[in-house]
């Protein structure tokens, strides 16, 4: 079981080596080093997983203490690992998808001057994510949580010389901070109530309802920040400023699922509070619908995927809030596969078109990208929940749970499914079918950039092997991944695997009648197909359809602007008030008063400083006389 240590250690070593020796390693080598480290970590995870498989279900939890991190009085926080089904499951797809994306990046980042820095951040990110997941207490987990935030900041702002990238990175960081405050308050509450952060201590005690509600909501606030739920979702679409593998890695497969993980991990706390459960599921459903509507009208290939990610994350929370953690996690894993696939394919498209991201300037690419096109299609079908691809099965499970919770939630879920199919169809049609529009636009954009490639008669080209191999692997996973938890034939591996963590006391079993299940499945398939059909119908011929693209959706319901106006505006005014009135008048006034008094007294006292040595000597002797006087007084008494 000592392979457990290797899981975080290898990416850490990779990160350290790349941090200090990255410049010397140069281009391909540092990428390969990072890949090897990530793959090694994945292999170690697999080994641990296999060894866990060999154990009794109840014994599948191992603690590994690395060192005592915070030995303060009675508080002992360990830097320790907890290897249990949940954390290993997360580790598996984090390291697995992470390895593929690292491999993909070698091709994608080719020629970048900061090649090594990118891989340093990737490895550091994987390490942080592993720590987040494997930690055996909330505090150490928070360490990984913040590490993930930091790496995300570094990766979104990787091209920090672009204004938009820098702003996006800042936005992501700040938004995440808001969520982090929730997490931190949760930590304080934990410490105050339990005096410990260990999952073992915390998750096995009985909590009163209101405390549990507060704690759960605070934890959920952290999850909202990290997983881009309402109201803290705005950073995720902007995060597409980062290199595409980053979008794939962080903003689809791994980092954003940290919130899902946290909620799943905290299930024993959340189940004490039905209010928290309702909050989670409602926010999840609302986010899913809202993001789906916005996704319908985005033109940036990555932004569509970003909003779909937000939407799918909403599904996951809907599942978790409805009490079926297994379904939520199932969807997380499936989503990791197909969303990574979609992003990487989108990256390949962007790569092929030399950094063109606007879908309206694409079209007809299926002829030029023989590997990317089918890969993207598989991802599209999985996301649109067309059976038998991944997305259908997990989404079906969530919808069943939502039906059980409340038909209204289910209705929202189904509507979202329709929209999902619609906007994904729109994307596929715009990108891969229709007329080739990239040529004209390349001319339009003139000599800027390297579009002379087309003028020389060149065509979009397929990506190198390092990029296509991950696509193929992920495509395979997207086709077959659903078998991990198929609802028939005893294949519900994830459910069984996670059963020890979500005993009936925590997540009461519920049953939906088989007939209802069939009905739910058929309805959702019908809606998905309807979305698909309407998408094809609407976008098969036209590129611009103003009536289908209202500005309100293109601007994401003006929420960003609204937030800026309502939050930032008053905040700015308040800051101005503080800056000019309180700081400028009051504080500065006080400071100036103090300094002014010193200056004034100095001006007066300066006369004492005549520059005549004898005057000073006079002062000194006067002091001596006074001291002598005091001494003789004391001696006399």
């Amino acid at each position: 079981m000592n392979a457990a240590y290797l899981i975080p250690a290898l990416p850490l070593i990779g990160a350290i080596v790349l941090l200090f020796g990255g410049r010397r390693l140069r281009e391909p080598l540092s990428g390969w080093l990072a890949t090897i480290m990530a793959v090694g970590s994945f292999v170690a995870t697999v080994i641990v997983w296999v060894s866990l498989l060999g154990k009794q279900a109840s014994a599948r939890s191992i603690d590994k203490n690395i060192f005592t991190w915070v030995p303060v009085n009675s508080l002992h926080v360990n830097a320790g690992l907890q290897l249990d089904p949940l954390s290993i499951l997360w580790c598996l797809f984090v390291t697995g998808v992470g390895s593929l994306i690292t491999l993909y990046s070698i091709g994608y980042m080719h020629g970048d001057p900061s090649f090594s820095r990118f891989f340093f951040l990737l490895n550091a990110f994987v390490f942080s994510m592993i720590v987040l997941v494997l930690a055996d207490n909330y505090l150490f987990s928070f360490f990984g949580w913040e590490g993930v935030g930091f790496c995300s900041y570094g990766l979104i702002g990787f091209w920090f010389d672009r204004d938009t990238a820098a702003v996006a990175a800042k936005k992501a960081f700040v938004t995440n901070r808001v969520g982090d405050y929730g997490f931190m308050i949760a930590l304080f509450l934990l410490f105050q109530h339990f005096g410990s952060f260990n999952y073992r201590d915390v998750l096995h005690s009985h909590l009163s309802g209101s405390f549990a509600t507060g704690l759960a909501l605070m934890l959920f606030l952290g999850a909202v920040g990290k997983s881009a739920q309402i109201p803290l979702y705005m950073w995720l679409p902007d995060a597409m400023e980062g290199p595409t593998p980053v979008s794939a890695l962080i903003h689809a497969a791994t980092m954003v699922t940290a919130g899902v993980y946290l909620v799943a991990r905290s299930a024993p706390i959340i189940h004490f509070s039905s209010a928290a459960q309702w909050t989670i599921s409602i926010i999840g459903a609302a986010t899913a619908l809202l993001a789906a509507t916005i996704a319908c009208n985005q033109n940036d290939i990555k932004r569509v995927l970003a909003y779909s990610t937000v939407s799918q994350l909403g599904y996951m929370f809907l599942g978790e809030g409805s009490g079926d953690y297994g379904a939520g996690i199932y969807h997380t894993v499936m989503h990791a596969f197909f969303k990574a696939l979609l992003f990487l394919s989108a990256g390949a498209v962007i790569h092929a078109l030399h950094d063109e991201q606007n879908m309206k300037r694409m079209g007809n690419l299926r002829r030029y990208l023989p590997i990317t096109f089918p890969a993207f299609m598989i991802g599209f079908l999985a996301l649109a929940a067309i059976p038998p691809f991944d997305g259908f099965w997990s989404k079906d499970a969530i919808l069943a749970a939502a039906w059980h919770k409340s038909p209204a939630l289910w209705a929202v879920g189904v509507l979202t499914a329709f929209l999902t199919a619609y906007y994904m169809t729109r994307q596929v049609v715009l990108v891969f079918f229709g007329q080739s529009r990239w040529f004209d636009h390349a001319k339009e954009r003139g000599a800027a950039g390297d579009h002379h490639v087309y003028e020389a008669g060149g065509v979009p080209h397929e990506a190198p092997a390092t990029m296509t191999v991950p696509l193929v692997i992920l495509a395979a996973a997207s086709v077959l991944g659903w078998l991990l938890d198929a609802p028939f034939g005893g294949l519900d591996f994830i459910n069984k695997w996670l059963a020890p963590l979500f005993p009936p006391t925590v997540a009461p079993a519920f049953s939906v009648a088989t007939g209802t299940k069939w009905l739910i499945g058929l309805v959702s398939v019908a809606f998905a197909l309807a979305g698909l059909a309407s998408g094809v119908a609407a976008w098969r011929r036209a590129v611009d359809r103003p009536r289908l693209e209202p500005a309100v959706l293109e601007h994401a319901w003006y929420i960003d602007e609204g937030v800026s106006r309502t939050v930032a505006g008053p905040l700015t005014r308040m800051a101005n008030t503080f800056s000019f009135v309180i700081d400028g008048r009051l504080v500065d006034g006080l400071v100036r008063a103090v300094s002014g008094s010193f200056a004034a007294s100095g001006r007066q006292l300066r006369r004492v400083q005549t520059g005549y040595v004898r005057n000073y000597a006079l002062g000194i002797s006067a002091g001596a006389v006074i001291i002598l006087f005091y001494v003789s007084l004391r001696a006399g008494s």
Binding site: Y612, R614, N615, L618, A622, V625, L628, S632, A635, G636
Partner: protein, 216 residues
């Protein structure tokens, strides 16, 4: 009276009287000299008055059996320090009389006198309170006893006070170096000269007859 003094074989009275006499002469010299230093207007006269005070101090030292210190006092102070003062006075030509009447700050002089008097009164009062001396006797070796004053002083300096002694040695060296550095005129070295200067210097050397040029 003479007869009585002659008859006094033990000589106690005369010894007493001579001790007092030495003290009185010393005190008179000290006070005269000090007043002279403070009041005389010519720096050279002041220096001479300082010498008188120093001799008075040396006398008081001898009166208290601090022979060695008396000698050192004269050698160091009168023989070196004041000579140095005179040297500087003469070198700089500052032996003109000081205009005492011109005073840049108004209350300087009366205040100074007042402070001096008050300090004196306080010191005396303080001494009176403690019956002139307070302290535990003989911390670092007895003053009385067999052996000469010089021997005992040497013993103390080279044993208990060795470190301060060596530090004063270092201090003196530093002071000498500092004095040399401070009072040296800056002479440009060859590297600091302009090429023109060097040319000039070289040509000047060339035309100097060699057997008269370098004689130092």
């Amino acid at each position: 009276m003479l007869a009585a003094l002659l008859a006094d074989s033990s000589g106690q009275a005369l010894a007493h009287a001579s001790a007092w006499a030495v003290f009185a002469v010393g005190a008179a010299m000290i006070l005269t000299g000090a007043l002279g230093v403070v009041l005389l207007r010519n720096p050279v006269h002041c220096a001479l008055m300082l010498v008188i005070t120093l001799f008075g101090i040396a006398l008081e030292f001898i009166d208290q059996s601090a022979d060695f210190l008396a000698a050192v006092q004269i050698i160091v102070y009168a023989g070196a320090v004041v000579i140095l003062f005179l040297f500087v006075i003469m070198f700089l030509g500052v032996d003109r009389k000081e205009a005492i009447s011109a005073e840049p700050t108004r209350f300087q002089r009366p205040l100074a006198v007042l402070l001096g008097v008050v300090a004196l009164v306080e010191i005396l009062a303080l001494s009176r309170i403690d019956h002139w001396s307070a302290g535990t006797p003989s911390q670092s070796g007895a003053l009385s006893g067999p052996g000469s004053n010089v021997q005992k002083l040497g013993q103390a300096i080279y044993t208990g006070y060795l470190l301060p002694f060596e530090m004063t040695a270092a201090l003196l060296v530093i002071a000498v170096v500092a004095a040399v550095v401070l009072s040296r005129r800056h002479q440009p070295s060859a590297s600091e000269m302009s090429e023109l200067d060097q040319e000039e210097l070289l040509s000047a050397r060339r035309f100097t007859p060699p057997d008269q040029g370098d004689q130092s």
